[in-house]
């Protein structure tokens, strides 16, 4: 075994032995030992305040190892004050509230004097706080009101335990640095409505009071004391409410509620002639001033019924409502409502504004729409009327149309009848020309080509559909081909029925050999020759048709006047036409003949005549020359015409040459306004 391990074993053995020896608790628990050793619990006392009845010292509580406030009576205090002092301590100890100072220990010191210890809080009395606030505006009103409310809470609690304070004033309220508020100095406090009322009576004996006035203090503090308290009447919670009102006064104005010396203050308090806080302090809310005045009412019955009511009023103010005591008008209420609900109000206002704007716009647009609608309606009414008129007109027109349609139907039937007639007539072999052609003449002369075509078709149909009448039809066909100067085509058809139209067949025979219209068209001279031949056979109607057809199909050609003149047979020499000046001269030679054919046709219309000169004719009527639409100048001296009739028949007529006595004066005057008459 080495030296070291032997030492160690020794030490361990010692330690082992120690474990089973008697243990000194002080050595094991130093604090316990410490506590056991203390002779004096409190030490290091240091005076911090002197009150009317007692001194407050700062002491070290060695048991709790902390600093406390210790209350002691003055050194020379009467023994009679021992009990009130202890009573205060016990009364305070009875109250367990965060805003009421707590009592830790109540006892008798070595000298036989009573003492009690309380919380020691860093901070100032409310009186100091208010002075500072007045000096540099340190503590804002809202903070001061919060302090006041905590005091109210404490008093509410005390009242609930039937304890009244009776000496509430700023100096008795301790304000910590972190918002702690402690109501101190319950020295004047008392229990009410309890069986130990007897004790209070004992306490209030005159000797005791005189003992207290030794220190120059009345029971309570002027300015915060209720009038009934000054008078020494029975005191109740109302006195505390009065004091709270006075405290609120001080909190609002940062000044004591009453001015002057104690005597004057008491007098003022008794009279209830208190200057409202609004008068003495600047920026004091009207509503809270009203609260103060109500709480400090002269008669307890006029004050708030409980501290709770007072709290409610101040809270109402802090929350932006108006206290009941303040007879606020509607405007104040509205202002307060706005203040408490600033955000909501602003939002609501914005919303309402938006709604109004939107509604206005909407209404505006609506009215605009209505105007438009009215205009539209008016227009619609007009249009409806118009439509009505139109409908009426349409009705009329419809009726007219129907009438027209009816007429057209009739006309159609007529024309159909006419067509049928044409067909029938055309197909009828015109043996007896004078009577046979009579019906269809007007139609043929108006529309020669159409008539021809229709006749051609009906004849062709007849050949196909009615073979038994083929012969007759073929004769008709020969006639039609002859009319159109297609003699070669006509020739075979003439031969089908050689007994009929023998004269025409002979002429056709000779003409078919002389020229072929398929190879070169018929000249005016040839046409005149054909017309002459037909005329010589006294087939005047056929000649007129040939001329009409030719004119319609081939038109005017040089020398056409010969063809036209040929129509007049023996009198053809009387006509001379000058194509350059479009002048037709008719020299009647004193013979009487008409310019019209038997069918009423005027062959002269196939010539373009601007100037007409009549020489020695027997023409009596202007209708003889009525078809000359182109006529511009007419020399009627060689005629027997005395009335021109309707000048519309000569739309181009400008100059009229007559013998001086030829026209009556009336006729001459009538004509003069229209044409030049010589």
């Amino acid at each position: 075994m080495t030296e070291e391990s032997r030492d160690r074993t020794e030490a361990l053995n010692d330690l082992f032995k120690e474990a089973f020896e008697e243990i000194d608790p002080a050595a094991e628990s130093p604090l316990y030992g410490q506590l056991c050793s203390f002779q004096e619990r409190y030490s290091q006392s240091e005076l911090i305040a002197v009150g009317g009845m007692k001194r407050i010292l700062k002491v070290l509580d060695r048991h709790g190892n902390r600093y406390l406030a210790m209350a002691r009576l003055h050194e020379d205090a009467s023994d009679l004050l021992f009990d009130p002092f202890i009573r205060e301590a016990r009364l305070t100890a009875l109250l367990d509230h965060p805003n009421i100072i707590s009592v830790h220990d109540v006892g008798i010191d070595k000298g036989g004097k009573p003492y009690f210890t309380m919380d020691l809080k860093a901070g100032d009395g409310l009186d100091v706080v208010l002075q500072k606030a007045l000096a540099d505006g340190g503590c804002p009103l809202s903070d001061r009101l919060e302090i006041f409310l905590k005091v109210c809470d404490a008093i509410t609690y005390a009242h609930s335990r039937d304890v009244i304070h009776l000496d509430l004033k700023p100096a008795n309220i301790q304000v910590g640095h972190y918002g702690e508020v402690l109501v101190c100095d319950w020295g004047l406090g008392k229990l009410i409505g309890r069986t130990d009322e007897v004790d209070d009576d004992v306490l209030l004996n005159p000797d005791l009071l005189s003992g207290m006035t030794v220190y120059g203090k009345v029971k309570g503090t002027p300015g915060y004391m209720a009038p009934e308290q000054i008078r020494g009447e029975s005191q109740d919670k109302g006195a505390d409410i009065y004091a709270l009102g006075a405290l609120l006064y001080a909190v609002l104005t940062c000044r004591p509620p009453l001015d002057g010396d104690a005597e004057a203050m008491m007098k003022t308090a008794m009279s209830g002639d208190i200057v409202p806080p609004t008068v003495r302090g600047s920026g004091v809310p009207e509503s809270l001033s009203a609260v103060v005045m109500k709480a400090m009412a002269l008669e307890p019955a006029d004050r708030y019924g409980s501290v709770r009511d007072l709290i409610r009023e101040v809270r109402a103010f802090l929350d932006g409502f108006s206290p009941v005591a303040h007879k606020s008008g509607l405007s104040t209420e509205l202002l307060l409502f706005y203040r408490r609900n600033r955000v909501s109000c602003n939002l609501a206002a914005a919303f309402v504004a938006m709604v109004v704007v939107v509604t206005a716009l909407f209404v505006d647009r609506l009215s605009a729409k209505r105007e438009q609608a009215e205009i539209l309606a008016a227009r619609l009414r007009v249009e409806k009327q118009e439509t009505g008129t139109l409908a009426a007109r349409l009705q009329v027109e419809k009726e007219e149309t129907e009438t027209l349609a009816a007429r057209l139907r009739v006309e159609k039937e007529d024309s159909e009848a006419l067509l049928r007639e044409v067909g029938r007539l055309a197909t009828a072999v015109p043996d007896d020309v004078a009577s046979g052609d009579q019906f269809s003449n007007d139609f043929f002369y108006q529309l020669p080509l159409v008539s021809y075509e229709l006749s051609m078709r009906s004849v062709s149909e007849m050949i196909d559909s009615e073979p038994e009448r083929a012969k007759e039809a073929r004769s008709q066909l020969a006639y039609l081909y002859f009319m159109s100067a297609e003699f070669t085509k006509a020739k075979p058809h003439f031969q089908v029925n050689p007994k009929r139209m023998r004269g025409l067949a002979k002429v056709n025979e000779s003409l078919a050999g002389s020229f072929d219209p398929d190879e070169h068209q018929t000249s005016a001279i040839q046409l005149a020759d054909i017309i002459k031949r037909v005329q010589s056979m006294n087939r005047i109607a056929l000649a007129g048709k040939i001329l009409s057809f030719d004119y319609a199909s081939l038109g005017y050609r040089e020398g056409y006047e010969l063809a036209v003149a040929a129509m007049f047979g023996d009198h053809s020499d009387c006509f001379s036409y000058e194509a350059e000046t479009q002048t037709l001269t008719i020299n009647g030679g004193g013979k009487s003949f008409s310019l019209r054919t038997k069918e009423g046709q005027n062959p002269l219309r196939f010539l373009s005549i601007k100037r007409l000169i009549l020489i020695d004719t027997m023409i009596l009527n202007s209708s003889e020359i009525a078809d000359l639409k182109m006529l511009e100048e007419a020399d009627l001296r060689g005629s027997q015409i005395s009335l021109m009739g309707d000048l519309n028949m000569f739309p181009q007529l400008k100059r009229l040459i007559v013998r001086p006595d030829q026209l009556s004066r009336e006729e001459k005057n009538r004509l003069r306004s229209l044409v030049q008459v010589e």
């Binding site: 070291e4 030492d7 160690r8 030490a11 361990l12 053995n13 330690l15 082992f16 120690e18 474990a19 089973f20 094991e28």
Partner: protein, 197 residues
């Protein structure tokens, strides 16, 4: 075996009165085996019979526990231990006497030496200290144990502080804490192993 079990459980001796408690027996075996071996070696019991003797003693102790009245007396526990061990060793030696009478006489004379209680006491103390140190090692940091052993070696607080780079206050605190724990553990362990209650 943890500290908690210690405090909550009945003492081992009390449990051992129920001879059918197998767990208690095993625990008893573990705790006493090494100690009895050391006592036997101190008594210079024949090496060949050491294991037999030890087992015999353990069983005898175990059995006698159910009838013994120990109470709270360290002295009585030691007396009981001493009596059982001595008697067993003596009986063992006399049984072998017929075979090796010559040698044994001397041995028995030594074995039954009157200071057997002294041997038991010192061995038991060593045994308990070893168990406590074991426990301290399990529950304290290396630094605290170092402070403890250096203190045991007689080193000064300043010395330890500079050696372990600790403040003097820390050395004091650690030392006191381990020492106080040592005392507590020793007391508890002895109660556990020696007392009925």
């Amino acid at each position: 075996m943890s500290n908690e079990q210690w405090q909550t459980r009945q003492t081992l001796i009390l449990r051992a009165r129920d001879t059918s408690d197998q767990q208690a027996w095993e625990e008893f075996h573990d705790y006493y085996e090494g100690f009895i071996r050391m006592v036997l070696m101190q008594l210079q019991a024949p090496i060949d019979d050491l294991e037999d003797l030890r087992q015999t003693i353990l069983i005898k102790l175990w059995k006698s526990l159910s009838t013994m009245e120990l109470g709270r007396d360290h002295a009585r526990f030691r007396t009981w231990l001493g009596t059982v061990i001595r008697n067993t060793v003596y009986t063992h030696c006399s049984q072998n006497a017929s075979r090796k009478r010559r040698e044994t006489n001397a041995a028995v004379a030594e074995v039954v030496a009157p200071d057997i209680e002294g041997v038991i006491e010192s061995e038991w103390r060593k045994h308990i200290i070893a168990l406590v140190i074991e426990r301290l090692n399990a529950s304290f940091s290396g630094k605290a144990m170092k402070v403890f052993t250096m203190t045991l070696d007689g080193r000064s607080v300043d010395d330890i502080a500079s050696d372990l780079e600790l403040t003097k206050d820390s050395v004091y605190v650690l030392r006191n804490r381990v020492q106080s724990r040592f005392r507590k553990e020793a007391r508890q362990l002895r109660s556990y192993l020696e007392f009925y209650e």
